[in-house]
Amino acid sequence: MCSISNRGRWIKPFMIGNILKLMQVFKTALIILVALWIFVGVMVSDCRAAGNTSVTAELSRAEINAGEMAELQVHVSGADNARVPQEIQVDGLQIRLTGQSTQVQMVNFKVSSSVVYSYIVMPMSTGKFTIPSIPVRTDSGTMQTAPLSFTVLDSSGVAGQTGSGGGAQVASQPGMPGFAAPRQVPQGNAPPTEGRMAFGEITTAKKKIYAGEMIPVEISYYFDARYPVQILSNPDLASEGLLVERFPDPKQSREDRDGITYNILTFHTLLSAVKPGSIDVPPVKLKTQIQMPGAVPPGFDNPVFQQMLGGQNPFTQTRELMVKTPSLHFDILPLPKEGRPASFAGAVGEFDSDAVVANPKPLPGDPAVLTVKIGGKGNFRAMGPPILTDSDGWRTYPPADKIDSSDALSLEGVKSFDFTLIAQEKKTNSPGSEFSYFDPTTEKYVTLSTKPLPLKASPLTDVVTPTATALSTPVQPSQGVNKSPAVTANSNDGEPLSSFTVRSWKTPVQRAEFLIGSLAMLLAAVSLGGILHFRDLQTRQGSVAEQRRRLTALWASLNSGTLDAASTYDAALEYATLLGVSESDEVILWITARRDVLKYGVGGSVLLGSDERSKLLETLGKISSNKASS
């Protein structure tokens, strides 16, 4: 046991390492094998495909209306380098190659490729056509497609035109609603009658209306819920003398009627008549495409086969169906001429009005905006603007308008008229407004008005500046015209200016001259300051030196003893003063008093005694040393 276990312990790492290496080798070999197998498979299947070339042609629609187009596709499988004609010559049709695409499929490791050549088919006339065999040249020879029959119907279209078989592709109108197959298409060869399968209804609140009055109209189309439907157009509600608003998105609903469940598509719109009289609205048509049960081919009609299909009929046909509403009659009444206000501008309905000034304090010359809001229910799109009252001294422009609807049809809402006003004189009130409409309920005209609103506006011409006056050419007032400010302003218009001033596109600050000038001024100020300071310093320094020289001279003469008594005291007084001794100082007072005694009394002309001179010099020396130390 011990040896075995020892051997096992020794062998184990060796075996694990080899197994891992082997697995790595197998893995690599397996990848190479799979790749080879796929490559060979592809090559074989390609060869197989090449040996099995086929060409087919298919029309997207076998029947179209004049003005529509169809697509013709030529499928070529098993040939890589097929060549097809660019155009196919058929009288009454224009068939042109538009492009090609390649499809590669791999089913059960069998790869097949096919090239689809697409042609566009444009009918030049109506009738039945046969698209001849299309020659397709391949490496293995020329092959031909089968001829195809093609019908072009009159564009007016007739309800119930039969279309192509179940396999046909239908180009649906983008954005158009439709009902997908809610249920399986019912069995049976006989399709239901059109009247029960799809029909339309049109309802309106009134059939006697006034010219310009907007009335809502509801158009509903009922479709048997068992058949998928594609809507191809909008209802074509149109009649001479009628204005029809655009159709918003229809609403979808469902309803049971006479034991049949119908999907309902309801369109809402607004109608108005432009002139009085009698108007017959023809049936409103809706172009649809309905998928209906088709005929079961022989051999597929046995019960066993139908059971296999779960009771469903896979053989359907698509039919274009024009669904119609009954016709409608309207009596259009004229708007009464009696009592029609001057401010009536075509509004019919029920309205109220309000006004607001957006900027009650515009700058001189700037426009103020008076917004008159007409709210209510009626023909917002057709109504004209209110008229302004008390508009003297204002320059006004035709208003910009905007409708804010509370419903999709714009029957109810608010229409805002923005009047731009430019004051031609100082104004404290905006103009008022007057708006008239015809109420079809009461059959009377109603006039609404808004009062002038407070504001502060003034014309720019009030601010005439010396600069502006100098620049402007003197404009001669127009002769013989009204001298109201507005007219005066207008009369100045259009006269070109004849005196010109040259200005730079750059601001002074952006220009080098200004910066250089500013720097020069700064330099000048600094230099001036420096120069002045230097001079002042020089002056001050000069006076000090002089003072020192004078003090030295005075001191020398005092010490010499050659001066008489009065002169000695004079020199002492000057010395003390130069040292900065205050006039009120005791020393100055003493020197002054003694000098006066000597000068105006006796003894002034003799030499001063040595004791007195020594005392004087000692006093002055103390002062000098005090000053020097301080």
Binding site: N359, P362, L363, P364, G365, D366, P367, V369, R395, Y397, A400, D418, I422, L460, T461, V463, V464, T465, T467, A468, L471, S472, A489, N492, D493, G494, E495, P496, L497, S498, S499, F500, T501, V502, R503, S504, W505, K506, T507, P508, V509, Q510, R511, E513, F514, I516, G517, S518, A520, M521, A524, A525, L528, G529, G530, L532, H533, R535, D536, R540
Partner: protein
């Protein structure tokens, strides 16, 4: 000293005048006569010719732009007229007739924008006057202050009133100069343009035709250029910001001046 100061002022004045020199062509008189006689097309050609001459690359005459605006307005081109009036006001915000006509054509274009540079101060005084007058006053105050402070003669007299006056002139003058520089419409004009494409122009959130629309701008609207990316410029107009093809806008400064 006084003589040196006057010499300095003279040099500054001459350098400004020299920089603003441009000869007024003789053809303008005949253009004005054509416009007055009711031939705006002829006048417009003459004005365009004058304004595109090399003499008018760095400088221009607001009155010629105004006259050109009149010719364009009379020719029925309100959009071009609005640009000409704006340029006239850019050069001279005190040019009252240009302001009046700009207001009118903007109204016709459906733009209820307050006319620019319409503050009470700026419609009375040209920014150049404020800047240069303020600078002169400020520097005079500065020089006076220097004299009063550094000259021993004046220092001994100790006149605080004079020093205060000089200081006031220094501060007020330079403040006026700064105000004029700030209020000058040309300061921001380099980044301004108008919508000149026919019809409303769509603002995009990225510089691509297929980008999401952020709003529309009416022709004649004043916009601020924020950045440029090839043929697409990012702009703002009031609260709206977005990208617009550069071909749909025209800069407020003429190309020669802008460069």
């Amino acid at each position: 000293m006084k003589r040196r100061f006057y010499h300095l002022l003279l040099i500054i004045g001459i350098s400004f005048q020299g920089a603003l020199h441009a000869s007024i062509p003789d053809g303008l008189n005949s253009a004005n006569q054509s416009l007055s006689a009711g031939h705006p097309a002829e006048a417009l050609t003459a004005y365009q010719s004058v304004l595109s001459s090399p003499d008018f690359s760095n400088v221009s005459a607001p009155e010629i732009w105004y006259n050109r605006g009149l010719a364009e307005e009379k020719s029925g081109d309100s959009l071009a007229a609005s640009l000409s009036y704006r340029r006239a006001l850019l050069l001279d915000p005190t040019l009252t007739p240009a302001r009046t006509h700009l207001t009118s054509v903007l109204t016709l274009l459906g733009i209820s924008e307050a006319t620019p540079w319409s503050g009470p101060l700026f419609i009375r005084f040209h920014p150049d006057l404020l800047v240069l007058g303020g600078a002169v006053l400020g520097w005079l105050g500065a020089l006076a202050l220097v004299v009063l402070v550094f000259s021993g003669r004046y220092r001994k007299n100790k006149r605080p009133g004079l020093i205060g006056l000089a200081l006031a002139a220094l501060i007020f003058g330079h403040a006026l100069s700064l105000l004029g520089a700030w209020a000058d419409p040309r300061r921001l004009a380099g980044d301004q343009a108008i919508v000149s494409g026919k019809g409303e122009q769509t603002l995009r959130d990225t510089p691509a035709d297929s980008a999401q629309a952020e709003g529309t701008l009416a022709p004649g609207s004043l916009i601020t250029i924020l950045s440029r990316n090839g043929a697409w410029w990012k702009i703002s107009s009031g609260p709206k910001t977005g990208w617009i093809p550069s071909t749909a806008i025209t800069t407020l400064l003429p190309p020669a001046a802008g460069s």
